[in-house]
């Protein structure tokens, strides 16, 4: 099994007619994802290489029965696009858009939490979700993943998500689902959401978790793992050498006021019984050993 998506997930792409939307939307479709439509206001009735385009998410949902949306629109329009999808009844939204203002992100998160509790937002500023052989929504290259499980991956950073997939696939260890939650300050989906779902998923036998400096989501995840996760977890935290007060690329990756250091996160995870690796390769090696012993 997989988490959040599977081979039956019907996806629309908001922004399908843009260059990024077209490239990644069609790439996801070529991977085997059921990409059933696109949404671009004013372009309803047209199509992108056979994928029908609608004026609104509501129209797209009515015509295709889509349950998930992939949002690839510029930061100015992304908050509205997310809320439009939620209002149209979409249950799972992946937003890869980078550089959404923090105020907009906080607003969208709270509107979803209050008015659309049944909708899950992944991102913004994330690589998306990939369940090898079943469904790929986002910008992750499908060929670095290996189907069949038993490892679930959750990661904050995009390229480190690829690195994680690569470390496992090269060693012949497959994945159930790989979720990139994104490096922004207010992510729609957190480590805990993914850990809880992986714990419930019978095919996932172990979890690889890649975090980074900033915020306290990894510490919260550690507390959650201690109480609720029975499966082995291997983690790696990026940014041990990051100087305080400097944003390391991601808006969320900053050590400020002594909070959010890599060491504090590693300590919390180790204390919760997680195998803490010093680098991505070591994390992969530890996971391979765990999988061999299953």
């Amino acid at each position: 099994m997989s988490i959040f998506v599977d081979e039956n997930t019907k996806v629309i792409v908001q922004g399908l007619t843009g260059s990024q939307g077209k490239f990644h939307g069609l790439r996801n479709k070529a991977y085997g994802t059921k990409v059933v439509g696109g949404v671009t206001p004013g372009k309803g009735g047209t199509d992108v290489e056979g994928v029908p385009v609608f004026d609104s998410v509501q129209d797209a949902v009515a015509a295709t029965g889509a349950t998930a949306s992939f949002i690839v629109v510029p930061p100015k329009f992304a908050p509205e696009a997310i809320l439009e999808a939620a209002a149209a009844g979409i249950g799972f939204i992946v937003c890869i858009t980078e550089y959404i203002p923090a105020k907009d992100e906080a607003m969208v998160f709270n509107v979803l939490r209050r008015n659309y509790p049944g909708t899950r937002l992944l991102g913004p500023n994330c690589p998306g979700i990939l369940s090898p052989g079943k469904c790929n929504i986002g910008i992750t290259s499908g060929d670095i993943a290996l189907a069949g499980g038993p490892v679930g991956i959750v990661s904050r950073s995009g390229t480190l998500t690829y690195q994680a997939l690569n470390e496992l696939s090269l060693k012949g260890v497959g994945q159930t689902t790989c979720v990139g939650i994104g490096g922004d300050p207010v992510p729609g989906t957190t480590f805990i959401d993914c850990l809880a779902a992986f714990e419930q998923d019978p095919e996932t036998k172990a979890v690889l978790m890649f975090g980074e400096i900033g915020g306290s989501d990894e510490e919260k995840a550690a507390a959650f793992i201690k109480e609720n996760v029975t499966k082995p977890v291997v983690s790696y935290i990026a940014g041990v050498t990051a100087p305080p007060g400097k944003k390391m690329g991601h808006a969320g990756a900053i050590v400020s006021g002594g909070m959010g250091t890599a060491q504090a996160k590693m300590d919390a995870l180790a204390e919760a019984g997680v195998h803490v690796a010093r680098n991505p390769t070591e994390a992969g090696e530890i996971m391979v050993d765990i999988v061999k012993g299953l």
Binding site: K103, I139, S155, S157, G158, A238, T281
Partner: protein, 384 residues
């Protein structure tokens, strides 16, 4: 973007937050004029983005022109923890009866905005948080609802703000929230927020960090640009639209993606090296971006070896390889380059590099292997 105090005060003024009248001076002559305009006694304050400037002698009270001249001569050019003072803010000295603290920021944990108010202002608030956490009152604000005047008043009361200052503080809180939200600040902080003997409440300092992602809707931020405290390397990188942070080590780092770039720093450190910088090419970088990155790294004297770590997703390794070949045809690199390419079109990328037969370019298969090789090169250089 972090604002200087004077910029923060200018920004506060847009939201009607009361501050002392004053002006900016870049020379001793200007400082004297500004002090006269503000009226004596006046305060001459160093404009640097670092704490502890008062202790370092960067803030002086002056009572006449001669003192203003002496203060400006002393403070301009003063080195405060590595920050050299180039600009002064001069304002009329306020009579202070009480010093408070007020701020708004995002609580990432609760995913709500957070107001913090304290009757113990004027000192390092993190120290207050450590020694007397009860002295700081907090209120979470849902962005959908905002903060009302009545809530602000309650918060001020609970923080122990003096009776005569309550309304003034509540009023400032409501305006500061507007500055924080409508003004797209990641942080809007007043420390100290003062009460004068005349019963007025106003901001004696301003600490504002703007959210760069919101720049598209703030044309008024243009005036703040170009004066921030970037070093030469950081300024060049910004012109090239690269995500760059200068550090002190000898291994120049180029990676795609913030996480991978941070991880590369860590791995270099683990194998005994030190990074000269953090550089994230971003997603989908083409040959031109790669070329710009090498150019920036090449200006850094500290760099003894360059480590390029690419995991292609959207970014294609063949494009990266072409960028390296391009760059090396126009730029004379001062140091050898160790390259690790993986992911999308990696084989093609490695072939392009091999065919170009570039001097001083070493290809490694793994991230750790590449880091080790880079550090070996630094060590070899040191033993020569």
């Amino acid at each position: 973007m972090d604002l200087f105090e004077y910029q923060g005060k200018q920004y506060f003024a847009r939201y009607d937050i009361p501050t002392s009248p004053g002006g900016v001076a870049d020379s001793v002559g200007e400082a004297i004029e500004q002090a006269k305009a503000a009226g004596f006694p006046a305060v001459v304050k160093a404009q640097v983005q670092v704490g502890g400037r008062g202790k370092a002698g960067g803030i002086r009270l002056v009572n006449n022109e001669q003192e203003a001249k002496e203060a400006a001569e002393f403070i301009l050019g003063l080195d405060i923890k590595g920050h050299v003072v180039k600009r002064l803010w001069i304002e009329h000295a306020s009579d202070i009866k009480k010093e408070y603290y007020a701020s708004f920021t995002l609580d990432r944990n609760a995913k709500l905005h957070l107001a913090m108010v304290s009757a113990k202002g004027g000192v390092d608030i993190e120290e207050v948080a450590d020694t007397d956490p009860e002295a700081i009152k907090r209120l979470h604000i849902n962005p959908i609802d905002g903060i009302s005047y009545d809530q602000a008043l309650e918060l001020a009361k609970s923080a122990g703000i003096d009776q005569e200052a309550l309304e003034g503080v509540a009023d400032v809180l409501v305006k500061l929230y507007e500055c924080y939200t409508l003004g797209d600040a990641d942080l809007a902080e007043i420390n100290p927020l003062i009460l004068t003997p005349q019963g007025k409440v106003h901001a004696l300092d301003a600490k504002v960090t703007l959210d760069d992602a919101a720049a598209f809707r703030h044309p008024e931020w243009e005036v703040f640009k170009g004066v921030s405290e970037l070093d030469g390397r950081e300024r060049l990188a910004k012109e090239k639209h690269l995500n760059y942070i200068g550090l002190e080590g000898s291994v120049g780092i180029i990676a795609n993606g913030a996480g991978l770039a941070m991880s590369t720093l860590d791995v270099v450190n683990q194998v005994g090296g030190t990074a000269a910088n953090f550089l994230d090419l971003g997603g989908g970088a083409g040959a031109d971006v790669m070329s710009a990155a090498l150019e920036v790294i090449n200006t850094d004297d500290r760099v003894e070896v360059v480590l390029v770590n690419i995991f292609g997703g959207i970014t294609r390794c063949d494009e990266v390889a072409k960028g390296i070949v391009d760059a090396l045809s126009s730029v004379e690199m001062r140091s050898p380059i160790v390259i690790r390419l993986d992911g999308t079109n990696a084989d093609e990328g490695r072939r392009i590099l091999a065919d170009a037969d570039l001097r001083g370019v070493i290809i490694e298969k793994t991230m750790i292997g590449a880091a080790k090789r880079a550090v070996e090169i630094v060590d070899e250089g040191a033993s020569k």
